[in-house]
């Protein structure tokens, strides 16, 4: 079933239709929330919040990129969480649902084709990236996550954060510059893990 029809049904209160959209987008929303918040548990909360509020306000969606619209709700939920964390620096972990035990396993690296060594290298890469992202101001972090990690174009990212295109360009440049400086400390660490998949990427981006 196509997305437009599902959205249309969801706007009329069809929860089943909305849940099919949830299944299609939950990985993307969760990944974005993880990168913004740097914490899996908080990211899961923010993702759930985002879907609840997206269903409530789906009537306000008037076409365009549904992905951008959904990402806007999740970034808002993340910003709320960050504000809350600022007010209360130590956030107690809240128990989740009964399905919570799954959180123990690092799902993102569940790639059976990787050897244990490669997996360790991936963990290093992931940690280095997250450490550097965490050091960025929130506005820069969000833009670099949307464009470089989620692969959005500038226009779509501008729609998510409701910012002019020029601001997106400048925030992205600043974020990349800072990430470059930060990652420099990891260059020696990264290539071993990286060369496996990086070369084709580099070659491709050189075109």
């Amino acid at each position: 079933m196509d997305e437009t029809a599902l959205i249309h049904d969801a706007q009329r209160g069809d929860l089943e239709a909305f849940n099919r959209l949830v299944l299609a987008y939950q990985d993307m929303l969760f990944n974005t929330a993880c990168r913004i918040l740097g914490d899996d548990d908080l990211a899961a909360d923010a993702t759930q919040e985002a879907f609840i509020s997206a269903f409530r306000s789906i009537g306000t969606f008037r076409g365009g990129s549904f992905r951008a619209w959904l990402l806007r709700t999740v970034t808002n939920a993340c910003y709320d969480e960050l504000r809350r964390r600022k007010r209360r620096p130590t956030v107690p972990l809240e128990p989740m649902t009964s399905e919570d035990e799954e959180m123990e396993t690092p799902r993102w690296m569940a790639d059976p084709s990787l050897t244990p060594e490669e997996q360790t290298e991936l963990v290093d890469l992931d940690e280095a990236i997250q450490d550097c992202l965490n050091a960025l101001p929130t506005d820069f972090r969000t833009v670099v996550i949307l464009v470089d990690i989620q692969g959005m174009d500038y226009e779509e990212a501008a729609r998510v954060v409701r910012t002019p295109l020029g601001t997106i360009k400048s925030r992205l440049a600043r974020a990349r510059l800072r990430m470059r400086e930060c990652l420099q400390g990891f260059w020696e660490l990264l290539p071993a893990a990286f060369r496996l998949r990086d070369d084709p990427l580099l070659a491709e981006s050189r075109v």
């Binding site: 990168r35 759930q48 609840i52 269903f55 409530r56 464009v147 174009d153 440049a173 990349r176």
Partner: protein, 232 residues
Amino acid sequence: MNNKMTFRDVEKLSAYLDGQLSRADAARLESRLASDPGLRAVMDDLRRTRAVLRAAPKRRAPRNFTLRAESRRVRPPLPRLVPALRFASVVASLLLVFTFATNFVVPLSASRSAQPLYGMGGGGDVTDTGPMALEAPAATEEPYTAPAATGEPEMAAPAEPAPTEDSARTQEPAAKNLAPQGTQGLTPAPSLPETSPPPPIPAAWQVGLLAAAVVLATLAFLLRWLTDRRWR
């Protein structure tokens, strides 16, 4: 080329990487890149950084985030009209606040004669002292011009007491200017106290705005309530 690189350059390099530069800008940057190894090095670093970020492992949702109708937190989609009504109600409320602010501020800078017309409690008190203070210089001028006034045709004197003393005093300088024109200036003089300062926003408008704000908010609330009720 020198090694001095501005943030504009980095911004351009970053946009160039994503193919977001105009053709002319891209051509200019390419020729600079060809001759500036420093610029090229930054470009390579940015490209590398982007590649690392693109290769960042993607996390998968740890569980399904599907919503359950039984959950109390899950509520049905609001009709599009609700946010519109809410917005309109907020606008009406803001306008209402604005009318109060205007009604408070305008009399401060207007003459006192406005007060009997618009009995604004707090505003009236302030205007009592305000215009007096403002007119202090005029009052000091009074004795200075007094001889001139006495020198004026006597017909002016009997006419003066007719209007209220306060307003006459405020109008005196103007009357003085008109004085040379003779007695003709007297006929408009009694009518001058009648002219009021710029009128503040009428109370009817405020009542209307208040009603609009309340009605719109109530409609939004009702619509929301009905939607929630129907969905359960």
